[in-house]
Each structure stands twice: as C-alpha cells, then as structure tokens.
Amino acid sequence: MELSDWELVQKCQLGEIGAFQELVSRYQQKVYLVILGLLRNPDDAMEVAQETFFRAYRKIKSFEGGSSFYTWLYRIAVNIAIDAQRRQKRNLLDFRDNMDEVFEEQQEVAKDPFADVHEKELREKLLSAINDLTPEHKAVIVLRTLEGLSYKDIGDILGCSEGTVMSRLHYARKKLQEKLRAFL
C-alpha cells in the first residue's frame, strides 16, 4: 500500500532518506514545471528545484502537518523562484537571452501542440506576455493554470487571502487577454 505524504514526512523526520527520495520522486516534476513557468530558463529552474528540495530536507523536522506537504513544498519553491526572478529581471540582457533560448527550444519540441503558424505566434506572444507579468501575478497564473490548485491553496502558498488570489488572477488574465486579443 502506498504511503501518504504525511506518513513519508514522519519517516523523514526520523532520518529515513528513502522516504525523502520517495517524496522527491512524487513532486520533482511538478515543482520543476512550476518553477520553469516562473523563470523560463531550464538551467535556473533545475537549480531552484534542487535548492527547493534541499531546503525542504533541512527543514522537514519543523513541518508539523498544518498544511499539506505539497503546499509547504510549493511555498518554498515559489519563494525561491520569485527571489530568483527579481534578480533575473535586474539583468535584462540575460533575461532576453534566456527568452530567445526558450523560443528556440520550444520550436525544437517534436510533439508541438500548435500546428500552424498562427498558433506558434500565439505561443510566442503568450510566453512574452507571461514574462511581462509581475512575479506575484505570474505565480498565481502558473499555480492555477498549470497545477489547478484551489484559491485557498494558492493563498497558503503565497501567504495571501483567497480574495487577493482571485483579484490577482483577474488582473493577470486581463493583462494577458489585452495583449493577445488578436489571437483569442
């Protein structure tokens, strides 16, 4: 029978590294994609994902199960990613280089879900528009759209109320809609 996250956390707290490995295998992909959604640079996303699990491992004894493990883990990930994003934005040239790399990688993906030119253009515009959002707006978009998290969980992760999550989502979507109106 598969152990729950909380049972694995309790084993980790007793020093079982195998239990932590199981938690990593459950959430490594999701955490990486959320961070990549925020940072857009695969190398930075990998680094932040590893740092996220490393900090989770060091702090796991202080986790008391008040929230779900993934909420706690995403909170660590989003905080590190938002800090990294702010640093990244300070160096605009690096940021643009990263964006170009991402566009190139996107075009190399074999199973391209966007078949025609119009859809490819939409994707590029969309990536650019998402990157122009503030870190907080980008975070709500990524956590809601990619992970499908509830407003309550997003609020727990970002340390804000459900009302704030709703308002940020509305504002972020409106911004994206304005920039992409011709494609929608």
């Binding site: 590294i17 490995q21 490393f54 990688e105 939409l122 994707r123 989502l169 979507r173 109106r181």
Partner: protein
C-alpha cells in the same frame, strides 16, 4: 442585478469553480443572456487552454540525475561557520528559548567580573646553578612561580659528601 463589468470580474473565478453556488448561478444566467460576456468567457477559456499548453509542453526532467545532484547537495559538508550557525539557530530560534540569549550574555558578564577569564600569570620557573668556590661547592636555585616557592640547594661535587640544605622562602633570594 449585476452589471456586465461586475460579471466579467467574476467570470474567471466562475470558470475555476471558486464561486459560491448563488454567485455561480447569477453569473451563469447573465452569461447565457449576454453575448458580450459569453465572448469574454470564450476568450478566457481559450487563454487558459493556451497557457496550460505552453507551460506544460516543457521537456520533463529525469529523476535519477536530479536525485543524484540533490543527494550530493545534502551530503556535502557545510563550511564550519555555516554549520555552527545552523546549530545555534535551531535552539535559539525557538520562542520558548528566547530568554536563552540574554541569559547567556548575563552569565558571560558574571564570569568575566569574577575574573574567570583573567589572564593567568604565565609560568616562568627559573633555575640556576653556580659554583661558589674552588672546592666543588655549588649552589642551585630553583624559583617556582605557581606556588611562589624558592628552593636554594647547596651541594658538593664529591660523591658521598653532598651537603644539602633545603630552604624555602616566600621571597626571592638576594643574588
């Protein structure tokens, strides 16, 4: 009755299933009867699908190299200042041990005022041997600082005829 602007602020949350039953019903009824708001909803749906498609189309990462890197990071020995800071941070960071920091500082001040850390006089033992005449008689002097004792030792070189005189004094001999 809500206006179109009010309804559009709720359309996203409605699509996310985050409205109360009453609010959701009000939005649904409005959208069904308003082509502009229905178009707003359609655009939002397409936007959400596009965002998900773009964000989820990234290459997945393999578990093994990820875990190996993480394991290496975990097992890496942290530098000693960082390690000690971590150890201190845990107990001293707990609210119920917040009194510990001022208590430690107070204890350190008390110990200092009692002179526990006063610098000890360094050991400076002194020994000297001097021949005092031509018959092989010698005098040896040993000064021991820790117990403030001076030993004066008179002896003769000839075997079996050693004259020894032990004398202790709290004051240094006048040589």
């Amino acid at each position: 009755m809500k206006s179109c602007d009010e309804i559009r602020e709720l359309v996203g949350a409605w699509g996310d299933g985050e409205l109360s039953q009453a609010e959701a019903e009000a939005v649904r009824l409005h959208v069904e009867g308003c082509s502009a708001c229905a178009e707003e909803r359609r655009q939002l749906d397409k936007l959400n699908v596009s965002i998900k498609s773009v964000l989820a189309s990234q290459q997945p990462i393999a578990f093994e190299p990820f875990w190996r890197g993480l394991e290496r990071r975990i097992s890496e020995k942290r530098s000693w200042p960082a390690g000690w800071l971590d150890r201190l941070r845990m107990p001293l960071g707990r609210p119920n041990l917040a009194w510990g920091i001022p208590a430690l500082i107070g204890l350190a001040l008390v110990l200092y005022s009692l002179g526990v850390w006063k610098e000890q006089t360094p050991r400076n033992n002194f020994a000297a041997v001097e021949s005092i005449d031509a018959y092989g008689r010698n005098v040896a002097l040993l000064r021991e600082n820790e117990t403030r004792t001076t030993v004066i030792w008179l002896y003769q070189n000839q075997e079996g005829d050693n004259e020894t005189s032990g004398e202790t004094s709290d004051q240094s001999p006048a040589f």
